[in-house]
Symmetry: C2
Subunit: 386 residues, 2 copies
């Protein structure tokens, strides 16, 4: 894809690492999902307005190190200034760029630094380097998050690439998940929006690190249309599946990099009455501190898993529920005499583990991802005074 | 009050401490609230049935060390056996006793031990010793929880006494909050039930240790009617206030004894649109791991508090919100230049701290209690393999 990138070290981050990313591309159809946190950051408020006015964008500008959140009128003006400056410097029409921020809450952006950083980035455009782009939007991520995929539609190849950042609210006041996925297919905005809805629910809305939604969470899906493959009602399912694959891989990287996490835990809920129910069951387990600490302790504590399901107050018949940890059947309508030693070993020896729950209530499935709750999580989030 | 007590060390607990409590009293009006967890324990299912058949009870029997939860038909028969044996031994009519259990999930009760324990307790009735009674229902509580109060209605004195247990799910598979409050007034069951509803919402339903609802949670309120004071529509508010006071004191003890907690945190939400909204705001902050770790780190991190409120997706105008930690104004529609050093000191030096939030949306208030999230919490819940 013809995507140009500019990065700079404007000095917002104390680490003096890259903190500005500009991406320029041909006017493209896009779909945008923003945080629902009512303490939405200034760039979120700005993008919400702009995205109501325009169906195509051709640039994004991101700063890391400062979230521009809880910054009032001044913050909103600064977000707008970032977008307008980018549009001016790149020579693209008004309201064709979106702006994103991530970092400290409640501090105004150092606009002099930001402006010269954007200038430097825009004046030094070059070929997209996914890894460097991911690094420029990172805050306390321990590794850059990016993914490439080659899909196949109507017998022709097409591309999907994505970058993301996020590790829970790893640093005090440092928050946010950001994700950008580009594909080169041709697609109507309306269809892209519908696909986005499904994809975001099954990927970024099905992960948990600490139950805390940020003020800046954003996910942008862009279709440049450079490829002559058209996505329509016939092939949309295959396309959505590919996009979901890329989004899920990025989402899993975020959980894997969760604060202090030692394990990525995949919770597969089977045979629920509805998708919503399946998702709720996965989420309730994923959010349980008791489950998360048990996983850290390599403890196949099925009571905590069932109790987290019970807490939803659904009329679940636990005499029909089956529960597996990895391949080990742990509960089958009643406690099962399972090989405890081998199950503990499975939990101990794998960095990625699976929990399977069969509810026997219907045909709906869902997968939820979470990580364990560790000493390191407490350290990261407590051993610091702002 | 004329309440007789029997305790015994039946051997359910590995510690060999007291694990059976029997209380006998005159046939009394009562109100009962049980866990809504759909993985309800056998005694909860049994009590739910019995309480639909009888308006008066004259005994309770409690065992600690085994929750009799996820134990199927056999568990239910054992719960019934405990109640019937108690009724036989005490010479009281059928269905006039309730049964409660707390401890390990998924293990059948050792009924031989339980039965001889109940027998010993029933044959050695004596004056109620609140502290010993509290100890007999404890599992991993670090201190026994009991409270006495002398109220005043219609110019006459009356008594309220209560015992409770619970410290979150402090030990793997050890769960549950149990609370029993006795008063000597005369009251109709219908009115007691109405008062119970208010009291439980404002006390035991407004505390959090780890967001996990147990399979055995139970709260029983008993009015023996020994005193000739009658509670009616005129004096019910004063009476409810006294009961709430006792319930809140017991609830606070549970949070204070929360797993690994170093702080009891009182969250006062003011000027919400509705009580429900005020409660939700308190709860969202109380459940935030980021807030709880910040409190452990003595970090006046207002961004995490506001973000937890924002996560509710209410249309809150944060430019009108005020936030205090103790007496220190931290946020007032925008970040405030507060005395950080003194605020940190306040958090450091107090075992009980207060957060005040003013929403400026209406007249409704709520108080929610929680504790901090510490290394010790992770240790208690992870450093153990079942």
């Amino acid at each position: 894809m013809e995507i140009k990138m500019g990065v700079s070290k404007s000095g917002i981050k104390p680490s003096k690492d890259y903190d500005i990313l500009v991406l320029k591309f041909r006017p493209s159809v896009y779909s945008l999902v923003l945080t629902q946190n009512s303490l939405a950051a200034a760039p979120v408020i700005y993008d919400r307005m702009v995205s109501q006015m325009t169906d195509k964008i051709s640039a994004i500008v991101v700063n890391s190190g400062n979230a521009n959140a809880a910054t009032g009128e001044e913050g909103l003006e600064n977000a707008q200034r970032m977008a307008e400056l980018t549009e001016d410097l790149l020579g693209i029409p008004e309201n064709q760029s979106l702006v994103f921020s991530t970092g400290v809450i409640g501090v105004q952006l150092p606009m002099e630094k930001v402006e010269s950083g954007i200038k430097e980035a825009c004046e030094n455009l070059r070929e997209l380097d996914l890894e460097l782009a991911a690094r420029a939007i990172s805050t306390t991520d321990s590794f850059p998050k990016f993914y490439r995929f080659e899909g196949n539609l109507n017998g022709k190849k097409y591309s999907i690439i994505g970058i993301a950042k996020g590790a829970g609210m790893i640093h005090p006041n440092m928050a946010t998940m950001l994700a950008y996925i580009f594909t080169d297919v041709k697609i109507e905005k309306d269809l892209l929006d519908r696909i986005m809805k499904v994809v975001v629910e099954r990927s970024f809305n099905s992960i948990d690190v600490d139950g805390c939604e940020s003020t800046n969470d954003s996910f942008l899906l862009i279709a440049t249309g450079e490829n002559d493959i058209e996505v329509n009602e016939e092939n949309k399912t295959a396309f959505a599946k590919d996009i979901l694959h890329v989004a899920t891989e990025l989402a899993k990287m975020i959980v894997k990099d969760g604060e202090g996490a030692t394990k990525l835990i995949q919770i597969n809920v089977h045979n629920a009455s509805t998708k919503e129910e399946a998702k709720k069951v996965g989420e309730s387990i994923a959010l349980s501190n008791l489950f998360k600490t048990a996983m850290f302790g390599n403890d196949p504590n099925w009571g905590r898993i069932l109790s987290a399901i019970g807490q939803l107050h659904l009329d679940i018949d636990f005499s029909r529920v089956k529960l597996y940890i990895g391949d080990f059947l742990i509960y089958s309508g009643h406690p099962v005499d399972f090989d405890r030693k081998k199950t503990v070993e499975y939990l101990k020896e794998n960095r990625e583990v699976t929990i399977e729950i069969y509810l026997e209530r219907g045909d709906s499935d869902w997968t939820y991802y979470t990580c364990d709750l560790t000493y390191k999580y407490v350290e990261i989030n407590a051993e610091y005074t702002t």
